[in-house]
Amino acid sequence: METGEDDLCQNNWGSASILDYEMAMEDEEEGEPNLHVFKASSSGKDNNNNNNGGQASVQGVKAQAWDPRTMLCNLSFMEQKIHELQGLVHLILGRNGQLQDEQQQLITADLTSIIIQLISTAGSLLPSVNMLSTTAPGSALFPFPREANNLASQTLNNGGASQELEDDAEEGENLPPGSYEIKQLEKEEILAPHTNFCTICGKGFKRDANLRMHMRGHGDQYKTPAALAKPPTKETLPGSDAPMLIKRYSCPFPGCKRNKDHKRFQPLKTILCVKNHYKRTHCDKSFTCSRCHTKKFSVIADLKTHEKHCGQNKWLCSCGTTFSRKDKLFGHIALFQGHTPAIPLEDTKPSAAASSQRGSSGCGNSNNNAAMVSFSLGSAANANQETSQPCVMDGKTSFEESFSPLSFDICNFGGFPRSIFDDSFQMLISSACGCSPINGGVGSVSDTSL
């Protein structure tokens, strides 16, 4: 099951990025007109300075009643913030001679953002002040980019889809307990929809890149290449010569295996892992699949991933569980007493029979490669006749090929025969329309032809 979850994470991750991006774009369009209130930029310094800022502030905001624990936490945060500010000033002092205008501007902007943050945090410390919900976008009270997701989106921007983002990827990591720094975000922080906020208008964004794009509307100073540049990471940041302590995250849910108080605590690697873990494990599954109306998810990316494959899970067990792969279903049935394969009602249709053949002929290949799948699908229709004849089956490929060329038109996803088909199609279109396709690529033609 471990690997299965990993796969899931992987998929979620991929689609999550797309989804986030789309949502952020939407936000941007709406938020364009608000060009006042605060003047600040979200440069790379924020990442350093606001490490715990978001956490504390959200907590403060959300505190509905006077909570001494929260209070204490906030105070300690303030302390830390001031300390950081101190360090920053030291930094400025140290390299005052060689400071360029741009850099100065950057640092000033950072200082401004820190001060604003401090003010807002201090304000939240007053128990009587009932703040607006963090989910309300456009609130000018939270004009700071919250570091938590900032970091996450940064890794996202780096294109590291596969790097250390899975909840359970670090199972085999075995870091010695003291060798890393444990951070624990609070529930509200984890569930906040946006992590980057415009310091001027307060609009929230999921990614800092989108925020930077947004900031261009607030003045020419945000259009400089430096302002638009990707904020440097800690390693590349000048001055951070001391080796970084590895950061790991803890789930705020008491008793969870991912909670640092757990006996066999297993830390989460990134903020995104924290978010996905928390939503999947400790939240209601509020997203229902619009196709099957049975599967529910708490992470919207999971839903999207599911919806892509929903309906393709034709391998059904009597217990109601569906599987996209026949061997998985049979493994499930072998494991559980009393479960039996459920025969679909449309069994009488020939197409269903052909598709149910698919697994039997394709069961040899365990890799989930699309080309292979389409191959076995192709063989499905004539598997009946084929098996009765002797055929050369030295290897898997020859097995597939000996069955092949009949029914590609039935199932032409992912397999290469499609491209041949498209090539001819392309010529046909170009001759008919009198113009050549823009990209000339196979993909674009197939889009138009569809």
Binding site: K326, D327, F330, I333, A334, G338, H339, T340, P341, I343, D347, T348, A353, S356, Q357, G359, S360, S361, C363, G364, A383, N384, T387, S388, P390, C391, M393, D394, F399
Partner: protein
């Protein structure tokens, strides 16, 4: 006075004194001849009832009568519906309702037109159903298999040629029927590794598993060979089972006794070694038509199983002399060896093989054309216990060798000398094998009536005699056989051109006669046929093709007397519509062949087809296809009858028959 009356009453009904158990024991003995049992039940009402209570197994001819016969026979345990081509869901629900609790086995292997609904009735009502045969249900789908899974107590299941079944259906059966012991999935080409694997995981009691012609690989065999009680594993024609998929196989299936890996084209010595590695108690091994050469190396892979191996089949394999020698020295306990169609077998190879096999009982060297008298002499002298010897078309074997066979191997029961050089002296020596029951002397041109008379005198247990195209035989030889071999059940005198009605009259003494083939005997008439029909009550198969003097009167006699006839061929005879229609009187009739029978008109054929209710196969001339109404053909096909349309033309009837009878014409 009253007491005396009572005694008198009891004497008048003496069977009242017997308990039912005793009567049943008597009936067990009577039941050996079905017609006797029929006479018994017709004697009186009481006998009728006793017989109805006694009968356990039924083999009805028509599904329409099921309600009546099942009401009569309440204790039916075995129901064989293979004579009923059309078994509807209604019929199955009748079976379920009337004999639900007692029924233990149902055979639906040759029945069609039932669906999942009918099977469900059967599975639910027949709680003690142990065996079901659903072979040839080619339209059966997974839904029906899921229904079969409802029969929880099922132990024996046959699903041969259920081509539309997939892993899902087998999965249902595997989960539902946990007590399965014998399963046949032959030709279920939709079932793969997953289904078979699940079957092996779920049904731990499996004794016998037939996976022939399934698209499985070696993968599922890992699970299958973990079965504790597996005795028989048939993998005939499993092309997906190859060396690579068996590479990691390690098993200790000590219960395995019978392994059939014939026609596994991709299984070579390497895969076979791992397959045999754990099967230390293997007794029967079938490697017919395998792709590997049976060499010295190959024989070494038999090392693990050599101690217990009793039977080996290497039909159609490329066999080397060294390989046979090694097998002969390794597997001393061999009792059965089959080398049929191994064209490379030489005298030296066979001699080395049989040298140490003192226990050899059965030897098949059909079509090993290189063999001569040398190796046959060796076989005769080293294997005195030989029971069966099949050596069709070993035409280089000299006449002396046959004499030695009869002299040395006195226990022989089955002999196939088709197309050999055996002569009367050889037959004389063979006649000393008292227990001989099957003798095939087809195309033995050297034998005459004298040789047959020795057989007739010596082999009183003979049940099967084949004299196909043995043209030296006349009425004299046949009459001596008929006199001496009163148990004769099957005789073939096709193309023995000198046979006349006298032979048939003498053969009518053999009351056990079931199969009579006299194709191409030009002198046979209806008188001879009448003699057979009247006295051989068990006659079931009759081939009268190319007997020009057979006409309607012969068929009328048959229709009256041979009520057990199942198969008849009247092609190229003088039969007309009247004779064919009269065949409708025979209830059991299933196969009719009437090609090139000039006296037949389309309407006569149509009437005969409608009349014969139990027809399964009809062979007719292709020209009739357009002449018969298509609605009739559809009707027949719906009744479960299939048509074979032949369109060979017969220009000059008498000349071709003459040509066929001349050995120079047909023997190359």
């Amino acid at each position: 006075m009253k007491k005396a009356k009572q005694i008198q009453h009891m004497i008048s009904k003496p069977f009242d004194l017997l308990s039912e158990e005793l009567v049943f024991i008597i009936l067990d003995l009577v039941a050996q001849n079905p017609s006797d049992l029929k006479s018994f039940s017709l004697t009186c009402k009481w006998f009728y009832q006793v017989e109805a209570r006694h009968r356990r197994s039924l083999k009805p001819l028509r599904a329409e009568y099921l309600p009546r016969i099942l009401t009569r026979y309440r204790n039916t345990a075995d129901l064989d519906l293979s004579f009923c081509p059309r078994v509807t869901d209604y019929a199955l629900s009748v079976v379920g309702c009337l004999s639900g609790p007692t029924l233990r086995s149902v055979d639906l292997s040759r029945s069609f037109s039932f669906s999942a609904a009918g099977l469900l009735r059967l599975a639910v009502k027949c709680v003690s159903l142990v065996e079901i045969d659903l072979s040839n249900a080619t339209e059966m789908r997974d839904a029906a298999a899921a229904v079969v899974a409802e029969a929880k107590s099922l132990e024996r299941l046959k699903l041969g040629r259920c081509k539309k079944l997939t892993d899902m259906g087998i999965g249902c059966i595997a989960v539902g029927c946990r007590k399965l012991k014998r399963v046949s999935l032959k030709w279920c080409v939709g079932v793969g590794d997953l289904g078979v694997g699940l079957l092996a995981v779920k049904c731990k009691d499996i004794r016998s598993l037939d996976l022939s012609y399934l698209p499985i690989t070696g993968k599922c065999l890992h699970d299958v060979l973990k079965l504790q009680h597996l005795e028989e594993l048939l993998l005939q024609g499993c092309f997906g089972v190859d060396d690579d998929s068996l590479k990691s196989l390690t098993h200790h299936c000590n219960s395995l006794k019978n392994l059939d890996a014939s026609s596994c084209q991709n299984l070579t010595q390497r895969g076979l070694t791992s397959l045999l590695s754990g099967a230390g108690c293997l007794e029967r091994l079938d490697l017919a038509h395998s792709s590997s050469v049976i060499s010295l190396d190959f024989a070494s892979s038999l090392n693990k199983v050599s101690s217990a191996l009793q039977s080996i089949r290497l039909d159609g394999c490329a066999v080397t002399c060294d390989g046979l020698k090694a097998i002969g020295t390794l597997c001393i306990s061999l009792r059965e060896v089959s080398l049929s169609k191994c064209v490379t077998v030489t005298d030296e190879g066979l001699s080395c093989l049989v040298m140490k096999l003192k226990d050899l009982r059965k030897l098949d060297i059909t079509c090993c054309r290189k063999l001569t008298g040398v190796s046959i002499t060796q076989v005769a002298s080293s294997c005195p216990l030989l029971v069966s010897l099949k050596m069709e078309s070993c035409s280089l074997v000299s006449r002396d060798a046959f004499w030695l066979i009869g002299h040395k191997c006195r226990l022989l029961e089955e002999l196939d000398f088709t197309d050999n050089e055996i002569d009367d002296e050889g037959l004389k020596s063979i006649s000393s094998c008292r227990s001989l029951s099957s003798l095939k002397l087809g195309i033995c041109l050297n034998i005459t009536d004298r040789g047959l008379s020795y057989i007739g005198m010596g082999c009183s247990n003979l049940r099967e005699l084949d004299l196909y195209r043995s043209v030296g035989i006349t009425d004299v030889g046949i009459s001596s056989i008929a006199q001496g071999c009163c148990h004769l059940e099957t005789i073939n005198i096709s193309y023995c051109k000198d046979i006349t009605d006298k032979s048939l009259v003498s053969l009518s003494k053999c009351s056990m006669l079931q199969t009579f083939e006299s194709r191409g005997c030009p002198h046979i008439t209806c008188q001879g046929l009448a003699a057979i029909a009247v006295r051989c009550k068990r006659l079931s198969k009759l081939d009268l093709k190319k007997c020009p003097f057979i006409n309607d009167s012969g068929l009328l006699t048959l229709a009256h007397f041979s009520q057990g006839l199942k198969q008849i061929s009247v092609s190229e005879t003088g039969v007309t519509d009247v004779g064919l229609v009269s065949l409708a009187n025979i209830g059991c009739l299933q196969n009719i062949a009437a090609v090139n029978t000039r006296g037949l008109s389309p309407s006569g054929v149509a009437a005969a087809l409608v009349g014969c209710g139990g027809l399964r196969k009809v062979k007719l001339h292709a020209s009739l296809r357009s002449l018969l109404p298509s609605s009739l053909i559809n009707h027949m096909e719906a009744r479960g009858c299939s048509f074979l349309w032949k369109d060979y033309n017969n220009h000059n009837n008498s000349n071709t028959l003459q040509a066929e009878l001349d050995p120079k014409y047909w023997k190359v």
